[in-house]
Symmetry: C2
Subunit: 421 residues, 2 copies
């Protein structure tokens, strides 16, 4: 007896699912290991930057009032009374027509209010004393990087949930975060099901294929910011699969299975969810590929039943698992970034269901262009090689012509989108 | 006596430098660790995909000639003689008006040339024998995924130098790469110089700043695909710095120092290069920030002398170190991806030198938009927080107005550009 399933829209499926999304745990990591993680707290300036008035150049610090009369024809002479390297502080007092040699980044001595660049002075010695001539006047504050001009103490420079890239690393170091509060990576189990699956290192035999979904998802999990835990590959056997799923649940924050969600005689996931007492959120989504994608929860732990077809599995992950992972990482824009792009070639298939086409996004003279990245079937793997985006073709349409604007979802982006798409 | 340096253009500097770029070494990694690495060989199909004719659906395999007469009013009855799960092979012979139950992904039995979906049949039993009725004709080849339709044995599906993302992982698994040939990550040493530098965990004291460049570069190295080796923070002392640089050279594939490259009294890098016998490729580039960026080589090992100013250091890395790293990773497009974008706000400073402005790239209705990401001085760190691009403003211009197209370099991209920009 064939089970009848009622498809729900992608939007409805995502909304149902996101009720179970929640921020994850926090851990501290050493700054040198923070690249690629997500901040679990706002990054706050613990000081002004610069934290003192400093020199942006190599030159001489002076009192600008002494140089008021300086011109090319009538240079003003200053006595060089000291030297100050970056990191040192000049403790003396600078008087009229006195100058202090100052290096880039060094603190401006008290009494001084301007810096003249080294290249703009002429230097000479007389009786062991160094002098400089200045041939132009300087304004009060000239060539001084003023305390707080870059950032003010207390400012939030990056929100929690921000991906830690080189710029954020620079700020973390500047503000003394030798240990960085980051989101703990959610641990996501993967179980591959299907009697047709060979291990990657096994030679091909008739009727079988190598298990590619596990490694694809492992990489998708890492790209999303999670930690993958591969729990094995199982044959289509209800009891074995049930035991494996049940045993895995206390080892992971969420579980992905691949295969077994369709309506075939060996599709055991529905029976497993029932036996576990899990609540199915949806088991049919009005989308291609991946319409059989199923999500269930058991005590607020999510179980993702992705299709065994590579492209369907890929899309199911990005639409449904990724936002859960990114929310766990405190990111406020957990969904794939949605943008408009110009379709580079016609796509004339009718779309009874919303279609997500693996695609290559490129730029052309400041415009986003997108074309399918190859063979378009839910079983396809070759089209994933160049895919950096998904083209979204709305259900109920009969085709799209080259040159039209279409929605695209970006796969390699760190910014993300809020809901709704 | 102030050293006079002759600035060269960015293009000339990059060309000089790229003469020293070379592909790196190869290593094998387990497939599960290959995410984020770069292929050191072309990824070749070792089989057709699919490797056999298979069923894309759950249904029944039949001989299409038997269903020629089938209509809604005159269904044709088939005897179900067997069942075939994914991964098994049906060894029997399918005769006239016989059908075999077939699951998604299973191999089509010999003699059969079409599949009818489960949902389109009605099934019944008589005397323990299962029959199905078919109410429509099927063409030869209907609903069969034909061997090789996705990819052909021998096809190159990804070139060497390709970044390994989830789609590439799926292909590697499909083609049996349990061990993946990848580029060894070049080891890049970092030495920070400057008496003003505090360790990140030290409290601020007058005149000093925390060492942020090291952690920023460490993250830039990882983003580029290299392996960072932090070799310490040194005061401005010629002998100490010389010894540290010399000692580091046989531990790394290339060396980055920060600070000490300007013309100040404590800028020792030029003297260190001389003492090492290194050849300076350039020590002044017509660009802002980062004009003092210096590159030298010693026995074909590159020494990058980046500015101590965070923004200048950042830009110097991306323009000069990154293409060397990516070439080492076999990538044929090692430079930052260059595109056009619409300037979101006017930038009215004159640009005697080519200017690289830290910027935020966004999309707006299918167009690339770019705006400076904040405070624009070579010492700035706050503007790095949101920077995902650099705006390139050509030297010799007096300013750029909002709405103009400008060149941008993308920082977070895996594709890259070939030379020339």
């Amino acid at each position: 007896m064939l089970e009848k399933r009622t498809p729900i829209s992608v939007g409805e499926a995502v909304c149902n699912l996101m009720k179970f999304a929640s921020p994850g745990l926090i851990e501290m990591v050493a700054l040198e290991l923070a690249h690629g993680r997500y901040l679990s707290e706002d990054l706050v300036a613990d000081q002004d930057i610069p934290s003192f008035d400093r020199s942006p150049y190599d030159g001489f610090a002076i009192r600008s009032e002494d140089a008021v009369q300086a011109t090319k024809d009538h240079p003003v002479t200053f006595e060089v009374i000291g030297k100050i390297g970056a990191g040192s502080v000049y403790s003396g007092k600078v008087g009229p027509f006195q100058a202090v040699r100052i290096m880039t980044g060094a603190e401006i001595p008290k009494n001084c209010d301007a810096v003249i660049m080294l290249e703009l002075t002429s230097q000479y010695e007389e009786n062991g004393q160094t002098y400089i001539d200045i041939k132009r006047s300087l304004k009060h504050g000239a060539n001084i990087s003023v305390q707080g001009e870059d950032a003010r103490k207390g400012m939030i420079l990056a929100k929690r949930g921000t991906y830690i890239h080189p710029g954020i690393m620079a700020l973390l170091a500047t503000f003394g975060y030798s240990q960085v509060p980051v989101a703990r990576k959610p641990v996501i189990g993967i179980i591959a099901t299907g009697s047709e699956l060979l291990d990657v290192k096994e030679p091909l035999v008739p009727g079988k294929i190598r298990n590619s979904n596990t490694y694809m998802i492992l990489s998708q999990i890492q790209r999303a910011g999670g930690e993958a835990k591969y729990l094995g590959k199982l044959s289509d056997d209800l009891e074995t699969c049930y035991s494996a799923v049940k045993a895995s649940l206390n080892q992971v924050d969420m579980l992905i299975t691949t295969g077994g969600v369709s309506v075939g005689d060996y599709d055991y996931l529905p029976a497993i969810y029932e036996k576990l007492g899990a609540t199915v959120l949806f088991n049919k989504v009005a989308m291609r590929p991946g319409s059989v994608t199923t999500v269930a929860h058991l005590d607020h732990k999510l179980l993702f039943g992705l299709s065994g077809n590579p492209s369907a599995c890929y899309v199911g992950f990005e639409l449904f698992v990724r936002p859960i992972v990114r929310t766990s990482l405190f990111n406020g824009k957990p969904h794939l970034k949605k943008e408009k792009a110009i379709l580079g070639e016609s796509f004339l298939k009718p779309n009874p269901f919303t279609r997500f086409v693996r695609a290559k996004l490129t730029y052309d003279e400041g415009k986003l262009m997108v074309s399918p990245s190859g063979f378009d079937k839910s079983s396809a793997v070759s089209s994933l090689a160049e895919a950096n985006a998904l083209i979204v073709l709305q259900g109920g349409t009969r085709g799209y012509d080259k040159g039209m604007y279409v929605d695209v979802l970006l796969l390699e982006d760190h910014q993300g989108s809020e809901w709704p798409w």
